[in-house]
Every structure is written in structure tokens, then in C-alpha cells.
Symmetry: C2
Subunit: 445 residues, 2 copies
């Protein structure tokens, strides 16, 4: 009998771990991703803020999975999944190729959500892919260049005003780092402008930054941001974004008022939504989607009525089944990894006709960096409870944790060199923007 | 009296050296470039072949010129020059801004020339900018991905056939490196294809590769290429390029015959032409353009009848005025640097109302790399004549020379780490392609 065929869609943390867990088993695996690389998303903001090059935080999927390739049961295809036929057990790729599967693990991740205002996307890019990071890098660096060229004060000020929307980990990192660039990296590189006069404004709808942390740590993060010259405006709900600026409703001073910031560079770090394939799965299987477009899964990460399909990572609205009430699983990389492994183990159990196991998320804690020497850490130490600290110690902890989990020895080395360099010189090593468009070829005779 | 204003267009090797030479003088300098970076073009092929990241071979102009910025007489503008008014001594930037100048140094470089076949450009990109390098990287890496997905042999073979047109230094580097990728880097990473069956074909119109070297070294380079599994076809003139392949007329076996190669990836390394601004200058000043669209300059690098305008680097059709007959200056980076310094010195002489000096190119020799442990070196040793060697020694010489001349200490360090890594593992560290297009934002509710 042919070995069961497992199709895995997506090569983020969840997909990679699922492949690893399955590659030793008697199954045939096909991994499909629309890119050629695995991305270490926790450091993507460093690519966007010109601190690291793209190859430092990403690696070719084929290279990452070389040990698994050697086992002879893994096929990797760079392709976009166009459609999933739940009843027919097939997926259709761009180009029309169809793949039949016995088991399906969907790890297609999330994308930005503009809460129904898709027209904001062109003014306020989010940060999920390398292409996003290059786009943001070009905007941030280009803004200072445009400020240097500005012919009047209002235009200059608008180019020197940066707004970050959403004070989760990505928004906080982006705001802190952009302020560092303005205050230090660029401080002596312009002639007509003083980059230290740059304003970086962080808008947050709720009443504190880093809502996943305890209130005290949110306060610490806010203080650290303010020390880095970031203007933090909590209780501020964005109502409009256009080429000239951002409008928002704020309750900071009591009654709600509408305010307007003239700015030319806006970063969206507010909302995420499950990838398009979530809706595709829901249509075919009858599974529910939550408000963020994530697929509601059973305790074992499979779809209700379709045990042959699992969803893991940011695309899954999953619950952790430990002691006590089931708790929602957060959209962080350790959770994606654990879900990838758990779904793979359940696939193997199903093949062996054993009962599957409910997913239990082991939470080791939460890290967020704010900027140079500034971070907050909330560790869950087994048997001891929470260990919380902030500032320099937290920043060093964050640094080493991220280097440790980075893909590949070479990348760790390169990132360490780049960070040491940045620490001592304030210089950012990847402040390079590719030419926007190709000039037409010259007509040599 | 106001200090004389020198406008420098272009921030390649020529422009940078002109800025450096002028910054100590009592002049006001404006440097305009359409990008934000200085590019170390001799290593650009490494970005295209995924050996190095873009930030390893380029650096922000503002960072490179930080010492000069400190002197207080340099303004750097990231802008595209739209027009040059020769009589009116002004240049118009994109956005309409006009810059008046007393002296103008144009160092705008060269671009690809398709010899009147501009329709070939979309099938056969050339390599001049970071954007070009990313484009080629995506095509080369994508070709293997597409071969793995091919549904029939003919399609698979076409994706596994790479044609490089033009056997100058860039064509030779590209062909040798692409073959190394196929033979080594990717050799165990695919399941349906054997990347070692890849064909890399180097087409050259003349009868030998590396025409700037002596015949014996051309032969050595050809042997080195063939050892790296590159098929070298000299005497082959391209007559057509389309999405399915390349047609060429060959005299290799006597009478000219037309042949056709089915291939999906073509690299253009055959022709260069002066940038658009050369034609603009010629129109305004009456200066002549040579066949490659380069501006014919006077012995002191100025334009005939317009001593206030100089052209340097790849855009100049200049001659070296040493002993004996004036000789054409080659389009290499040491020549661009020397021209940049010479033009700057002549600007200062003109300001002092002293006679200008004819340009003399000091030729230190010629290097070209073929691939791993393969290169040719032709050094001009003063008093000794030519010192020529090839193979491993030449490769090591090439390696250290390029690291030595690379921009910035950090870049040297990073490139050394990457090359040492590549040498021992055959892995290429930048095999990462950004996502081709941004998916539309998801509609979270």
C-alpha cells in the first residue's frame, strides 16, 4: 500500500516543525510555500529599520530542511495554493497542478487587517513579509531624503513625522527603532535638516502599550519609549489615513476629540487577519472563522467533521487544553512551533488509528524589545511562577534569546556582528534601498 | 564673493572621488544621485548569484561621505536629474527643483545596451544596479524551483538551461558562479531534478573570452570555465531572444549557421551604453557621442567649448595622455576613480585660473574571476612589465584585492565571513527572494 500523503501548506514556524516531526515517519510529505524562504519573523522589524539584511533573518526552505530532504520522503514546491477541495482531498496550485492528499496541515499564517479600510493599505504598510520590510525601509529612509529636499517647512515637518499605529510588540519595536535612527544614526548626515527634530508618534486604541503584558510592564515599556523620544498616545483610535496624514479620535483628555497629524510615513501594526486560505477552508468544510478570520479548530487542531485537516499557527483560532478552562493560544512563534509538532503527531496517531491528543500550549513567557537597552521580559518559570524584569537586563535577555533561536549558525554569526557594530557605532548596516524602477535600456548604436 | 558651486551628478566611483577631492577646497558642493547608496559594482554579480546580501556590497552615500559632510560644504540630494541646461548653467531635478552651478561634473555611469533590440530587455536582464541583481537572483533561483515543478521533460530542460550573453568579466563571473550553484550548492536540495544536469552556456560574439586580456589568459579562463561545466561558445552572435529561448549565428564550425537554445533564463552581459544624461549633454553642448553613447571629452575631461563641464567614469569616452599616442581609457573602477580625482583637480585649477592638466590613466592591470579557485590576473608592475598568472593564486589575489577595496570595515568583515562560509560549505548565504507581489490585505471583520 502507498504511504499516506501529508500536504503541508506554509513554511513558517508551524509548517517547518510539522515537516520535521513527520519526516521520520512512514509518510510521503509535500510542503508548499509561495516563497523560497523560511522567515524568522521576530526579527523582521530589523530588516524594515535597516539594521539587518534580508538574508540575515531568512533562509532558503530547501536549506533549512536539508536533513529532512535526505530521508527521501519530502517534496518541496514553491507554489501558491489557489484552492482547496475539502471533499475531494485535493489542492490546486497556481498553474493548475493538482495535489491529492490524505492528510492536510494548513499553516498559511496571517496578514494585515485594516478593519474594513483596505484603502489605508497603500499609505500604511504592515510588516509580515520581506517585501513589506523592503517597502517600509524605502519609505523610512526616503522620508529623510525628502525632508532634506523639502522646499517649505510644512512639507519638511510632514516628512519628519512618523506615525506607528498599534502598540503591540511590532509597533513598539518599530517606533523605538525609528526614533533611534532619527536621534543617533542619521544625526550628522544631513545638512538642511536636523534629524533629531523628528517626531515618532505611537498611536494605540487601548489604554496601554503591550497589552499582553501586566500593567506594570506596560508602564515600564511606555517610559522606555518616552526616554527614546517616542510620543505615546494611548486611547487613540485611527479614523482615517491618507497621503497627507492620519486622523484619530482620542479620549486622552476626557471627552473624545478628533485630532489630525500631518505625516507622510505611517506604519500599520494594529490588526492581523488569517490568510485567505482560512476562508477557503471554512467555505469547504463548514468550519467557523473568528472575528480575525482565523479558523476555529477542535481541541486536537483538526477541523470539526474533518479530522484529516488541521490548522496550526497564526491561522488557527486554537485553545490550549491544560489544567482548568481552555485558554486561547496566542499568535506567537513558540505557539506556532508547538502546534506544528502537535498536529503532526496527531496525523501519525490517526494513521495508526489511535485517538488524537488535545493541544496544550506550554507558555514560557513573553518578550518584547523597545529599543537600545530597553525591553520587557515576563518569564513563566515552572514551579516558581512569573519572573518579570525590564531595561538593560531584559534587553540582553531578548538579544540572546533571539540569536539563539535564529535559523542557522551563519545567521547567528552575521547578526551578532551586525548588532555589535550597531551597538558601538549607532550605525545601521542595511541602510540601502534598491533602485525604485529600472530605467529603460539605453539605445546604443 | 560666494564660493563657486560644483554640482556632481552620480555617486559611483567617479562621483565619490570627485567629492572627496573637492571637499577640502573653498567650494560649495552638491552631489545628486537617484539612489541612496554607493554600489561596489565589482561584487554586484555576487548579489545576483545569491552569494552576498545587498548591504554587503553597498553603503549609504551619506555614510560613505560622513567625513566630507563634516567640512560643511557638501549637500547630498537623492534625486533624479531630469534636464541639464548647458547654456544656463542649471540642472532640473525630478519634482522641478532647479540647481544653479558654476562647475558641473557628470559621473552618471552606463546602462545596458541591447544594440537596438530593446525588446530583449525583458527576457535578458543586465546587471548594473541592486534592482537588477535582485531580479536576476529571483530568476536564477526561480528557474530551479520551476524545473522541480515542471510537468514534462522539455519544460524541465528549458528551466535547467541558462544562457549568458557576452564573455567579458561580468559574463564570465556570472556563468562560472551559476554553474557552481548548480553543481554544488543545490546538488542535494531537490527531489525531482538533479541540479547537476544544469547547462550553463556562455555565448560570445568574438573568438575568445575576456577580450581585454592577452590570448593566453583568455585560453586559461576558457579552460577554467569548462572545468566548472560551463559550455563556452565563442564566435556566436545572438540574433533573437524571446520567452522560450535564444537564437544565434555561429561560425564555430566554419560556415555561419543559425542555432537555437531552448532556455528560460538569459543574462545579458554584452553591451553597455552611456546613461541618458550623455545624450542630454551632447544636445546642449554639441559634444560628440561615441558609438556606445559615451560623451567624447577633451584631454582634461571637459567638454569641447564648455570647460565648466566635465564627464568622468563610464559615461566618458576619454583618452589617457601619457607617453606616446593617447590610448582609450577602459570602463573599469580604477579609471573612474582616477577620472573623478582628475576632473576635481581641474575644476580647482580653473577656479584659480591656472591651466588644466590632461588626464593620464595609470593602469595597474586587470583582474577577472571565473569561479571557485579560478581567475586570471594581469598586473602592470612599474619597471617590471606585465605579471600574469591564473588559477588558485589569481583567485586569492582577486579575493583579497576586492575585499581591500570594498567600502567600509564592516562590509569587509561581513564579506570575509560569507566567503569563508561559502568556501567550506558551498552554501550561498543570500539565497532568499522577496515575495513577488503583495497579497491584497485580508478583510478581517
Amino acid at each position: 500500500m502507498a504511504r499516506p500523503h501529508v500536504l503541508i501548506i506554509g513554511c513558517g514556524f508551524g509548517g517547518i516543525e510539522a515537516v520535521r516531526a513527520l519526516s521520520k515517519a512512514e509518510v510521503e510529505i509535500t510542503l508548499v510555500d509561495r516563497t523560497n524562504h523560511h522567515l524568522f519573523q521576530p526579527l523582521l522589524y530589523q530588516v524594515a529599520t535597516a539594521g539587518l539584511s534580508a538574508p540575515a533573518v531568512s533562509a532558503p526552505i530547501r536549506h533549512v530542511l536539508r536533513p529532512e530532504m535526505k530521508r527521501g520522503n519530502l517534496t518541496i514546491l514553491k507554489a501558491e495554493v489557489q484552492a482547496i477541495d475539502v471533499a475531494g482531498h485535493t489542492a490546486t496550485l497556481d498553474g493548475g497542478e493538482r495535489i491529492e492528499w490524505d492528510h492536510l496541515i494548513v499553516a498559511a499564517g496571517a496578514t494585515h487587517s485594516y478593519f474594513g479600510h483596505d484603502d489605508w493599505a497603500r499609505y500604511a504598510p504592515g510588516l509580515k513579509t520581506l517585501a513589506d520590510a523592503f517597502d517600509i525601509r524605502a519609505r523610512v529612509i526616503g522620508a529623510f531624503e525628502n525632508a532634506e529636499r523639502a522646499q517649505d517647512d510644512a512639507t519638511r515637518d510632514a516628512w519628519m513625522t512618523f506615525v506607528v499605529i498599534g502598540a503591540g510588540p511590532t509597533g513598539v519595536e518599530m517606533a523605538g527603532t525609528m526614533s533611534e535612527i532619527a536621534q543617533h544614526t542619521l544625526s550628522r548626515e544631513f545638512r538642511r535638516i536636523d534629524s533629531r527634530a523628528t517626531r515618532v508618534i505611537l498611536l494605540e486604541g487601548s489604554d496601554r502599550v503591550l497589552g499582553a503584558f501586566v500593567t506594570k510592564q506596560s508602564q515600564q515599556a511606555r517610559q522606555q519609549l518616552e526616554r527614546l523620544h517616542v510620543e505615546v498616545r494611548t486611547g487613540s483610535k485611527v479614523t482615517g489615513i491618507d497621503a497627507e496624514g492620519v486622523s484619530f479620535e482620542t479620549t486622552a483628555s476626557g471627552a473624545p476629540t478628533t485630532q489630525r497629524l500631518a505625516c507622510r510615513t505611517v506604519i500599520w501594526a494594529a490588526g492581523v487577519a488569517g490568510s485567505r486560505l482560512g476562508a477557503e477552508l471554512a467555505r469547504g468544510s463548514g468550519a467557523a472563522l473568528d472575528r480575525a478570520g482565523r479558523v476555529v479548530v477542535e481541541p486536537d487542531l483538526s477541523l470539526a467533521g474533518h479530522p484529516e485537516i488541521s490548522v496550526v499557527g497564526d491561522l488557527a483560532a486554537a485553545k490550549s487544553h491544560g489544567k482548568g478552562e481552555p485558554k486561547p493560544v496566542p499568535g506567537v512563534s513558540p505557539a506556532a512551533k508547538q502546534m506544528g509538532r502537535a498536529a503532526a503527531a496527531n496525523v501519525l496517531r490517526r494513521i495508526e488509528r489511535e485517538p488524537t491528543t488535545p493541544f496544550r500550549y506550554i507558555d514560557y513567557g513573553n518578550l518584547a524589545t523597545v529599543g537600545r537597552k530597553a525591553a520587557v521580559v515576563d518569564l513563566a518559570v515552572p514551579g516558581l511562577g512569573a519572573l518579570r524584569f525590564s531595561g538593560l537586563a531584559a534587553w540582553l535577555f531578548w538579544l540572546f534569546a533571539h540569536i539563539y533561536f535564529l535559523i542557522g549558525f551563519r545567521n547567528r554569526l552575521i547578526v551578532m556582528v551586525d548588532w555589535a557594530w550597531a551597538y558601538f557605532t549607532y550605525e545601521r548596516s542595511a541602510r540601502v534601498v534598491a533602485e525604485p524602477e529600472r530605467p529603460p535600456p539605453a539605445r546604443g548604436s
